[in-house]
Symmetry: C2
Subunit: 362 residues, 2 copies
């Protein structure tokens, strides 16, 4: 049995599956700590690959690419959750230690499994029902009422793969609109606001969480976060307890993003979690001593977790699609800390960068 | 005549001559703003090259390497000042815009030219004399007194290429010890402390400066900086005026580091300047919204300069040689923001990384 690679020494290589902006910002954080980075991506010249020591170009299920990555890196992590389970197994079989763990990816890949997991962990979610076929809809709508939100169980993100059902007779059309794929139907949560907590768990079981942020979505895509959120000190203990419960139940290593609905009475309902660094944690890049990307690298490398106290409040605004073309104005805005992701092509709603603006601590 | 590449758009490539830690941290800053980076270095797998899109391996005067760099990058900058003048000319001839300007490199490469330049700009330096041969020593020592510091005119750094002359009859031996190379003899400045100012000038002639830091050297190598320095508000206007004078006289673009002696009465004497980002500015990585590396990238890319106000005071400690082997303790020190440079081999006194510790603002 090989000896433990942990704590991973500076100079070692960390593998990242995925070449987008999350991988890029992870790679920058790893570089700060003296690590080398190897990216696996299907797209040559990816945003992350262009700041990494090496870019392996291959599909996420390409056995040769996975073996190459595992051979180059004692530790491998992910910038997104839709990794085939076989890929993870292949990496481990080739001797790499992968984090976050397979079960975290598996649960988060399936909205039904995710909600069942959360409820089993004692956490409140929106009421939900499995919709495997059209026949399942009437009883589910009867129980959950309208409006209700129909979501594909797999592969939805940024508002994709979901449709509101406004009336009892509109269910079948909504399901067909989503390609008739297996779905989960969610009862509407009358929330007061959306908040999220970015938390981390180390290989030593240590836990930490950043102050909760308040998030504003448009068309299912995150537009803006304000963190720490107004009133955060009240919500922080409960949000942290939720995140800790999830991380411990999954025997998790790394950073997680947990999205929460806050009801009018202050109660918190778990919307979903992402087993990775998270868009709502980008504020930490300019608001904390150790940002979420360094925190994730610390965790997967078996280093002690770093501090999460806020140095300032931050208003984070995503730059979507053509908005990044305003880079010249943003470069001249002395209140705007600009992060651009180096993406070659723009598309409507595509995340091209973000801006952090410092605010006084609430 | 080609149209101006400025302001350089995100997605463009910036060339950096040199592959060490300064190039690495410049590359990380450039990535944040969406730029690609190409490194020219004689050493394959350099610290900067491992975080860049591309690494061109070649000598600094290799015409093919320089042509390749210029073809790939509309803008080229440097991580150190000992660039052959011909290299700069070659880059420009191939259409790249190089910054800082050639005259800044030329002046800073020659300690005699540097002091003459500073005096001509109306700035106070240590009293000095040119020592071209042994015969020049007696009159110089007569005028400057002992102890006096003999320095080679070229290629000294981190305390290398210099020797104290303690008595009038020790001059010849000191000169021989430095290989008989052309030297400059400096009268001893009875300084109270060493401070430095990191400043920048944009392509629009804009000027900015970070708060002065107080520096502590050991054996000629920077050990520790504290910035903003105690009492900095008093010294800042004069330090900024000095830096501005230098930058304007050189028609400079980019970040500069100016080392100053402060006398007991508060007066400032210019020790030397480095036409690049500077070790005494590493505190800005964790102490300012825009650090010196992003500031430099902004300047050379023709972007507006960013803010320089301190968010916190920082104590920066260099990790020299084997000190970086304490990474495990430093990783667990929650007060230490760790920067490791990814250097493959250690040597006594070699700069392997640094640590920033936040302090309350003075």
């Amino acid at each position: 049995m090989p000896s433990s690679p942990f704590p991973l020494p500076p100079g070692a290589a960390i593998g990242i599956v995925g070449g987008g902006q999350l991988g890029r910002m992870m790679a920058l954080a790893a570089a700060r700590l003296g690590f080398d980075v190897v990216i696996l991506t299907p797209d040559a010249g990816s945003p992350a690959g262009r700041v990494a020591m090496r870019e392996i170009v291959g599909a996420y299920d390409d056995p040769v690419a996975l073996a190459t990555l595992a051979a180059a890196c004692p530790v491998v992590t992910f910038e997104f959750e839709n990794i085939p389970a076989d890929a993870l197994a292949a990496l481990q079989a080739h001797g790499a230690v992968a984090a976050p763990p397979a079960q975290a990816l598996a649960v988060s890949q399936d909205r039904l499994a995710e909600k069942a997991f959360l409820n089993a962990a004692g956490l409140t979610t929106a009421p939900f029902a499995a919709i495997d076929r059209e026949d399942d809809i009437p009883a589910a709508l009867e129980r959950l009422g309208v409006p209700a939100l129909l979501k594909t169980r797999r592969e939805g993100y940024d508002g994709k793969g979901q449709a509101w059902i406004a009336s009892p007779d509109a269910g079948a059309a909504a399901l067909h609109g989503l390609g008739g794929r297996p779905c989960v139907l969610e009862g509407k949560v009358a929330f007061h606001r959306e908040i999220s907590v970015i938390a981390a768990r180390g290989r030593d079981d240590a836990f930490c969480a950043y102050p909760v942020g308040e998030n504003h979505h448009e068309g299912g895509v995150l537009r803006r976060s304000l963190a720490p959120a107004p009133g955060w000190r009240t919500d922080q203990p409960r949000a942290e307890a939720i995140a800790r419960r999830i991380l411990e139940a999954l025997d998790y290593v790394g950073v997680i993003g947990v999205e929460l609905f806050q009801l009018a009475d202050g109660a918190l309902v778990v919307n979903e979690f992402a087993p990775r660094v998270h868009n709502t944690g980008h504020w930490t890049l300019d608001g904390c001593e150790v940002d979420q990307f360094e925190q994730h690298i610390r965790a997967v490398a078996g280093w002690p977790l770093g501090p999460t106290a806020p140095l300032a409040a931050v208003e984070m605004t995503n730059l979507l699609g053509v908005e990044a073309e305003a880079w010249q104005a943003l470069a001249g805005d002395r209140t705007a800390r600009l992060w651009l992701y180096g993406k070659r092509g723009s598309a409507p709603g595509r995340k091209m960068g973000h801006v952090n603006r410092l605010r006084p601590l609430p």
